[in-house]
Symmetry: C2
Subunit: 423 residues, 2 copies
């Protein structure tokens, strides 16, 4: 046990925080008795709320700021098509469905289970249509995976722009999915007559007006893709694709087709709108990079951050954040307080499965001096999260997608954080 | 690959379920074209809902039956003090906070973070009072644990009584908690002057009117107990103890004190109301067993079950359920279709940490013959979940707590399930 640190932490707590045990413990209290301790409170005097009132509960009213939010200038239409998870206010790794970001291309649709159909056609031995009930009859699996929009952090290419982890990094969520492996359904339709599978693709589309069609190489389709119907134990929410969505672990979120309607086995990529006009990465020289499916290793400090100032002065401080990689597990996260000059290895909190969010903590003492906070994720392939400068060398400043650069928060002496760049 | 099974599954799907791919695939369709495939649907024609409408989302209206429910005759008062998780309708392992069962002794109270105080006193070197902010300054951890009420399945001692897994086994939930280990806070207050720790206890109480005080042996307090402030990523819900509750992994739910207000280090158990008049186990001969903290290995089939009939006839069927043990990990679950005469080993779905729910599946073919479905959990200590007859030998029929017996569902030829007992 680190006695020095322990003493320091204790000294701090006794010196400045609301430690007024005096009247109770029989020693002198510096600030006088704390009425919250010495007086009988209403909540200890009367019966509280009954459970009948909450068949499906919501957060307590004191937490009403912990909600999905959008950025008005990002969406000109009266209804927004994107919002952001309040990652700054969350901890652990699971994202509740109620505040998990949503993105749609033509609105969230209401599709009842009895109206649901999933077709598998194209180069299969036997085209099939499944009802929702049919899908529940195949062996299913449970996995926790992150889903990140390719455009997450996309507004930050040209400079530090949005002042909050929710807005710079909140197009991500992490849930426990239950579903049937896509390979199970493909095998049910039969791939025997498709010939060599390594050059085949599946084209997946949703039942909404956009259809949001995307091509997925057969190798991935037969690997870990799920046809999912539950998230965090319960049915998918409408905005997350009820009753069935595709889960494409580690790959960009727009491929996780919601309200999944059709899977066609094809002999080449379809080159749909969503993989030509959109979701390709334009380089500074004007060339475009396509098929950038995997979300590379990335991390962000969620607290402190612009929406989460340090609520106290110097002393013990927990710096916390999230790390993830579409290539597998996170093996290490480093944290810098000086804009990347020196680094300390963070403690990994709960590490989920591969391709799931990992929580990290740096338990530290803050001396009250301003900080340039950064985090840097390293995944099991050895890949190290790059700086923004390193990314810009290849991608320029006008890119949109796949910005996995190291994020910097400037924290001033008052504990207020701000989105900044370091050169 | 088991070709027999595959053919059987496929034959089934083409023969009886709504597989009407004919008009699309160019082969004859037995039931004629399916308008859900051949006609343009409204949801594919118009823009759906925008995201502005759902800052904090709720389940889609089609899932409004998946809510906490109570049993009216269990609670005579106008407001119920217990309700049940809809485990029959969930899958995977995580329980969403919104439908996680609640139990209180004097109502759920509204306690703001700024009004929160946690006192540690008694045989400590230095009594301390922590604000909510103070607690967030200590190193925290994340763990998934189940929380089961000691009275779960308590109405079933004298016979098969409640017709649904939600009511027989729904006083349980499983969440990812974030909190500070209790030992960290105890060490902060200092245990040096308490003397020999092995015979010491902590007495924990809540800020509600009942205070719900319980004694916990110091060995457990210094092991894996958490002072928790987040569940499934977000703040605890009011009814789950906002802003801070105790998490006592593997031990009965009433010890997971909500709205945690005080922790006193004491040299013997307090013998409070909640551990004498309540939460002791009366044997048939009138003697009482106390300090029955650990929830022994247990399991239940959640689907099919009385609230979840088989929605189709014979053919492929996924039998699914939950298993858990307060002693550690679940190593095996067996499923019987004939009331315990023959058993098949189930496939474990997602297995969480020790003292967390494990999902199990039996992927089977149902021949349409009535079944007596049972599941039997085995944990890492080698303990095997007992039959109700085995439990009754010691406990009689008038017990309330710690009923971890094997549950039987009778499933008739129509797929309707009912709570029954087998001799």
């Amino acid at each position: 046990m680190d006695e020095t640190k322990k003493t320091s932490r204790r000294a701090f707590l006794r010196g400045s925080a609301a430690v007024a045990a005096g009247s109770v413990a029989g020693t002198a209290a510096a600030n006088g008795p704390d009425p919250l301790i010495t007086e009988l409170q209403d909540w200890a005097s009367y019966t509280g709320a009954g459970v009948d009132e909450t068949p499906y509960g919501l957060p307590i009213r004191f937490e009403q700021h912990v909600v999905r939010r959008n950025v008005e200038w990002l969406t000109a239409s009266p209804i927004s098509s994107i919002n952001f998870t309040p990652i700054h206010a969350l901890d652990g790794t699971i994202t509740p469905q109620g505040c998990a970001f949503e993105r749609h291309h033509s609105g969230a649709i209401e599709l009842a289970k009895e109206d649901y159909r999933l077709m598998i056609n194209g180069l299969v031995d036997r085209p099939l249509v499944f009802t929702y009930e049919d899908i529940e009859r195949f062996p299913r699996e449970n996995h926790v995976y992150f889903c990140e929009c390719a455009a997450n952090t996309g507004m930050e290419w040209a400079g530090a722009q949005l002042n909050g982890a929710q807005f710079t990094h909140g197009m991500i969520h992490n849930m426990e999915y239950t579903g049937v492996p896509l390979r199970t359904l493909l095998n049910e339709a039969g791939l025997g007559s498709a010939g060599e599978l390594s050059d085949k693709w599946v084209y997946v589309e949703g039942a909404d007006a956009s259809s949001n069609g995307r091509s997925i190489p057969m190798e991935k389709a037969l690997d870990d893709v799920l046809v999912a119907f539950k998230a965090n134990g319960e049915a998918l929410r409408m905005e997350h694709g009820y009753p069935v969505r595709l889960v494409v672990p580690g790959w960009e979120g727009n491929m996780w087709v919601k309200w999944l309607r059709r899977i066609e086995v094809v002999d080449r990529a379809v080159e749909s709108r969503e993989e030509t006009s959109k979701y390709t990465d334009v380089y500074e020289d004007g060339t475009a990079r396509k098929w950038t499916w995997v979300m590379d290793a990335k991390s962000v400090i969620t607290s402190p951050s612009p929406q989460m100032p340090i609520p106290h002065g110097a002393g013990p401080l927990v710096i916390s954040g999230l790390a993830w990689s579409g290539h597998g597990k996170i093996t290490r996260v480093d944290v810098s307080k000086d804009g990347g000059i020196t680094w300390q290895t963070a403690r990994l909190g709960r590490q989920g499965e591969a391709k799931a969010l990992t929580r990290f903590y740096l338990d530290t003492e803050w001396d009250g001096v301003p900080m340039l906070l950064q985090s840097r994720a390293i995944d099991e392939t050895g890949y190290v999260q790059p700086t923004k400068a390193q990314l810009r060398e290849k991608r320029g400043e006008n890119a949109v997608y796949h910005n996995n650069c190291i994020q910097t928060w400037f924290v001033n002496a008052e504990g207020i954080a701000e989105n900044v760049e370091v050169s």
